[in-house]
Amino acid sequence: MSAITYSNARHERLARLARRATWRLAGGVLVLWAVATLTFFALHLMPGDPVLAILGGASGNPTAETIAQATREFGLDKPLAVQYALYLGRLLQGDLGMSYSQHLPVTQVLAEQSWATLQLTFSALALAWLLVLALTVLTAGRGRWVSSLASLAETLAAALPHFWLGILLLAVFAFGLRWFPPAGSDGWRTLVLPAVALAIPLAGFIAQVTRESLELTLEQPFVLTARTRGLSDTAVRFKHALRHAVLPGISLSGWAIGALISGAVVIEVIFSRKGLGRQLYQAVQAQDLPLTIGISLAVAAVYVLANIVIDLLYLWIDPRQQGKTA
């Protein structure tokens, strides 16, 4: 790269980040559109009449008039293509329709449930990273025993299914020791066990790649150079190696958001927490189309946004990639 173009490096860099964010956002919108479309049509393949789902299932024993009314009310008498067009039209106005099972606007349900799930997933992500950094920076390249032991711990952690870990944590820390409340969605104490149950397997995954990357980085010439300057081992690890070592883990965090949301479904059920995961599980079972599509969209949006943030974070940490478009 020519040196001249870097005369205003920081400004240029921010501008590039912004351009990239815009570009990615546009892509994200397209992805969301595709998600909405896919879910919309796929869910219309679901067996059973959606009107019955609206009216509390077939056991609601609705009369012919109420069915006709609900059919009109929800536009279910129109051809699928028209319904789709109407759906998209409303979607553009931020209207996701009414939940069949809750009789609430889907947006309201999302507004009520999202925070709990975001809180859960992001505290789990943060906790996972904390564990990863503590474990890897302290143990990477520290001799065979320490390394293998830590490596075993990571592999084991990565092999733990969320639900099993959740049940074990419940049994030990809530039922047995009673350190934490077994259920609920209020206050940090109710957040601890579910977040730990989500964080530990994730930490295992991220730690595996981070350790590998850290050990590779510690063998890089620039680390040796840093040592030749008289830097201590700790300083080398934190100032030089860490920044490189977290990069694969950060890439993995994009995937992790998806895994966390998947895990949140199960964890929210086990810990009787409110949240999008449990809501989705219920919506799917109740054949609540608008809510299912709404939550899928919300999840996809979180995923898309998180990935943009992670992408930018990655670029911030490793500006070398900036010229290339991923």
Binding site: L32, L45, P47, S148, P221, I261, A300
Partner: protein
């Protein structure tokens, strides 16, 4: 003149580890996997009681000599159930991974070999699939097609496919740009021969490792669905279903959930360790 290679840039001169020697970790993992495979093929070798035999007055025996893993709420021997469950759990894991890999290979090859437009299309499709977290995708799938072992396999497979597809595509692109492919072109080999003899085998090779590790993860995801009541119907001794059925009794009888879960963990752990060992061996030989 001998040409002992000695890296000049590395600070720590690493004495090359002998990869061919089986260290205790991989050894244990491979042994356990072998045990699982035998258990799946011939469970009666290990478990002597009928996994479905209900003995109500024997319910909730804690682990002991008579029942190594205790008995469940129906008095069934949990050890037998776990052993007999190996077949179904492994089958689900293998089938789901195979399906995921099948989809992934098709998508990955289309993306990697199909030219710029197709590649972009596949890229988009993957991006969209990625926006559905695997369990969400599986939930939607089960919602549409119902629950049971078949849908469970397909749902788990679908959930894993985009990740593998991205990997296959990456592999194909990497191998496509490898020196030996250029060398083969320069030698004058026809394109078809290069794809079949060099590109595909080399691109697929690392996937063996992924596949090994993937089976463990597939078992975890499948059991998550079973746990939510969307998987193998009871009384099938499927590990996730057993866990799900036992979870009400966590406070009274921990062994109902502990042992099936333990087997899931051990299986995943073993596939990971074995896969990584395989990877080291392949890399040691090939890179």
């Amino acid at each position: 003149m001998s040409e002992l290679t000695f890296e000049t840039t590395l600070p720590a001169v690493r004495v090359q580890r002998t990869a061919s020697r089986l260290r205790p970790g991989p050894l244990l993992a491979v042994t356990f996997l072998a045990f699982l495979i035998i258990a799946a093929l011939a469970p009666q070798l290990f478990a002597h009681s009928d996994p479905l035999a209900i003995v109500p007055h024997d319910a909730f025996h804690p682990p002991g000599w008579a029942h190594w893993f205790g008995t469940d709420q129906s008095g069934r021997d949990i050890f037998s159930r776990v052993i007999y469950g190996t077949r179904q759990s492994l089958f689900i894991g293998l089938a789901a991974t195979a399906l995921a890999m099948g989809i992934a290979i098709v998508l990955g090859l289309l993306g990697g070999l199909g030219g710029a437009y197709l590649d972009r299309g596949v890229g988009w499709l993957l991006e969209i699939l990625f926006a559905f977290p695997s369990l969400v995708l599986a939930l939607l799938f089960v919602a549409i097609f119902g629950s049971g072992v078949g849908p469970l396999i397909v749902a788990t497979g679908l959930g894993g496919a985009p990740g593998y597809a991205r990997m296959v595509r990456g592999q194909v692109l990497a191998v496509r740009n490898a020196g030996y492919i250029e060398a083969a072109v320069a030698l004058g080999h026809p394109t078809r021969r290069i794809i079949l003899r060099q590109l595909l085998p080399n691109a697929m090779r690392p996937l063996i490792v992924t596949l090994t590790m993937g089976v463990g993860q597939a078992i975890v995801w499948a059991s998550a669905l079973s746990f939510l009541g969307l998987g193998a119907p009871p009384p099938a001794p499927e590990w996730g279903t057993m866990l799900s059925m036992g979870r009400d009794f966590v406070a009274n009888a921990w062994w109902l959930t502990f042992f099936p879960g333990l087997f899931i963990v051990l299986t995943t752990l073993s596939t990971t360790v074995a896969g990584r060992y395989l990877q080291q061996r392949l890399e040691g030989r090939l890179s």
